[in-house]
Amino acid sequence: MKILVCLKQVPHQDARLDIDGAGTWIKEDGIKFEINSYDTFALEEALRIKDAGEAEVVVVSIGPDRVTQALRTALGMGADRAIHVKDAEIDGSDTLGIAKVLAAVAKEESPDLVLMGLMSDDGNASAVPPMMAELMGVPSATAVMKATPEGDGYRCERELEGGALEVVDLAKPCLIAVQSGLNQVRYASLKGIMAAKKKPMDTKSAGDLGLSGVVGAAGAKAQIEKIYAPVRGEGAEIIEGSTDEVVTQLVGKIKELGLL
């Protein structure tokens, strides 16, 4: 059994985010990065499958040198092998471009299961997992809260609106994109960190994956126009008085606006 876990490295949730000179991304120098929180749950899920039986866990991340930190963390937590896709040519890829790169890695590795987060903390697109599954030609499920082995695949419980759950069965090979909070993510222990030093990490370029000229800004169908902080709006009204008065006025306002 082989599991491929896709990890994205994103700015740390406590990092100060300033917009860069071009106005299309944030300034990345001097800020801390971490593994996308959704992906940590995917990794934990993979490591639990490994702990329960025979499985090789391979982690992959696309990005500059700094992403080796995310891969090393994953190795420290218990993953067996890492693949670092590093190529300036991939910069500026849209979600489809990223999905193509990951699908190409998956093609080389032919895993039984791909685990990844539902979305990324920074980009928030939720687009890569289903695109990747389509490119691989495998069944997939997103927003998975629980995955249990069932027959020749997995039974997944997907989170829907309003707290409802949908149960879907996926035959292997398949791709599961997890919702956050489905497990308690382990820490990399000092022992694990030291053991990770000896675990292999391969570096691959777009060319190695047969994607030269296909991905990156040139191949992107979507481009970031600009990034900006929302302008503070006008017209806020502050209701004052006792709690009863405030509630009465607030309900009146909501009715007046026809929202109730």
């Binding site: 971490e34 080796t68 930190q69 090393r72 963390t73 420290g76 820490y187 990399a188 222990s189 000092l190 022992k191 960190i193 030291m194 990770a196 030093k197």
Partner: protein, 381 residues
């Protein structure tokens, strides 16, 4: 590219682990620990599992056999627990009460006390200070008298961290009152020994730590509980103090840096006279001054760490760092309260707590005057 011995990928990964532990397990419960007046000791097991309690100790006993740089990483992150008392309680266990045992203890003693301490199954305390002797360690009077294969201990210790939670004490006692500096001995005292009791003390700060007075009335422990040689206790304890000071510097500066960041955010949000407090030049200048002091302190501490890693004698530098860091942290806390105005005076504000917590840095682990006294001698005055 040559590898920075203080900043390898492994250091970064370990930092990430400790940071996550601090963010997930310590910071959210910081005020709860204050209310409890102690740390949730069940977290020690978790720290033991992660390898945090035996960084520099021999792998034979469950340690990681690493150098001082990993301790520095750990306390830089634990210093951001938003609870100076908790960080102190942990550091007492890892770097103040256990080093002598690891360095000088017998094999049996290490199996009995060091192995479980590294695993997080046992918690330790260091019992040196007495009601009548603090800075002048040689003035202690707690007496251990030999009776066959046992020590019989009588006396009292005060201001002892982990008083309520410790499973064992590294006790410094007088074993031969006529032998001067050769009359002291370090003895391990299990806290369930009959005749031992403690009373908790009510502190102005460091609320997340259980500080107490200890009482020994005919407490009997085996002579085999002696750490190292009988009569070498004073010298062994002086060595044990060294790391304690450096750890205190590392965690104190980390905590102060966090307060600086918090104050900056506060100043950016707080609007007065029609603009953010951070846009006033007075605020900017003072914040830059504090940043400069913190940077200088950090660099000094880093130099101490580098020397320790390289195995060089860093005693003078650590002494000066302890003196300097205490002053910087007190100043940062004072100025940061000021920026917070009335809120800074509230117990719940980070600045208010730092104000009382940081006061300890210039007293505990040897007072400023103890550092000055030592350095004056070193400089030939």
């Amino acid at each position: 590219m040559s590898q920075d011995p203080l900043n390898s990928p492994e250091h970064e990964l370990f930092r990430e682990t400790v940071r996550r532990f601090t963010e997930e397990e310590l910071r959210p419960r910081a005020r709860e620990f204050d209310e409890m007046g102690r740390f949730d000791t069940s977290l020690f097991k978790k720290m033991g599992d992660l390898g945090m309690l035996g960084l520099r100790y021999d792998p034979k006993y469950g340690g990681a056999g690493l150098d001082w740089s990993y301790s520095a990483v750990m306390f830089e992150e634990l210093g951001r627990a938003d609870n100076a008392g908790v960080t102190m309680g942990i550091s007492v266990h890892t770097d103040m009460a256990t080093p002598s045992l690891a360095e000088f203890g017998s094999e049996e003693l290490k199996q009995q006390f060091l192995v479980p301490s590294i695993a997080g199954d046992m918690l330790s305390a260091i019992a040196v200070t007495e009601p009548d002797a603090g800075s002048d360690v040689s003035g202690i009077r707690t007496r251990a008298v030999r009776d066959g294969d046992e020590w019989v201990i009588n006396g009292s210790k005060i201001y002892i961290t982990n008083a309520a939670t410790a499973d064992w004490l590294c006790l410094l006692a007088v074993t031969n009152p006529d032998a001067g500096y050769g009359g002291f001995t370090q003895i391990i005292v299990p806290t369930d020994a009959p005749g031992f009791r403690y009373e908790l003390l009510d502190k102005i700060g460091n609320w997340g730590s259980d500080t107490g007075q200890l009482f020994f009335e005919d407490v009997r422990v085996p002579v085999a509980n002696t750490i190292g040689e009988i009569g070498r206790g004073f010298q062994q304890q002086m060595m044990q103090f060294q790391d304690e000071r450096l750890v205190a510097c590392v965690s104190a500066i980390a905590g102060s840096s966090m307060l600086w960041e918090e104050t900056r955010s506060w100043a950016e949000e707080r609007i007065l006279f029609g603009k953010p407090l951070s846009k006033m030049q007075n605020t900017q200048f003072k914040m830059v001054e504090l940043y400069t002091q913190l940077t200088a302190a950090k660099e000094l501490v880093n130099t101490c760490v580098r020397k320790r890693v390289a195995g060089e004698d860093a005693t003078n530098l650590i002494t000066m760092a302890k003196l300097f860091c205490g002053g910087v942290c007190r100043r940062v806390a004072d100025e940061c309260i000021q920026f917070h105005g009335g809120y800074g005076y509230m117990k719940e504000s980070m600045a208010g707590r730092a104000f009382v917590d940081s006061r300890l840095i210039s007293i505990g682990g040897g007072s400023d005057e103890t550092m000055l006294f030592y350095m004056a001698k070193q400089l030939g005055f």
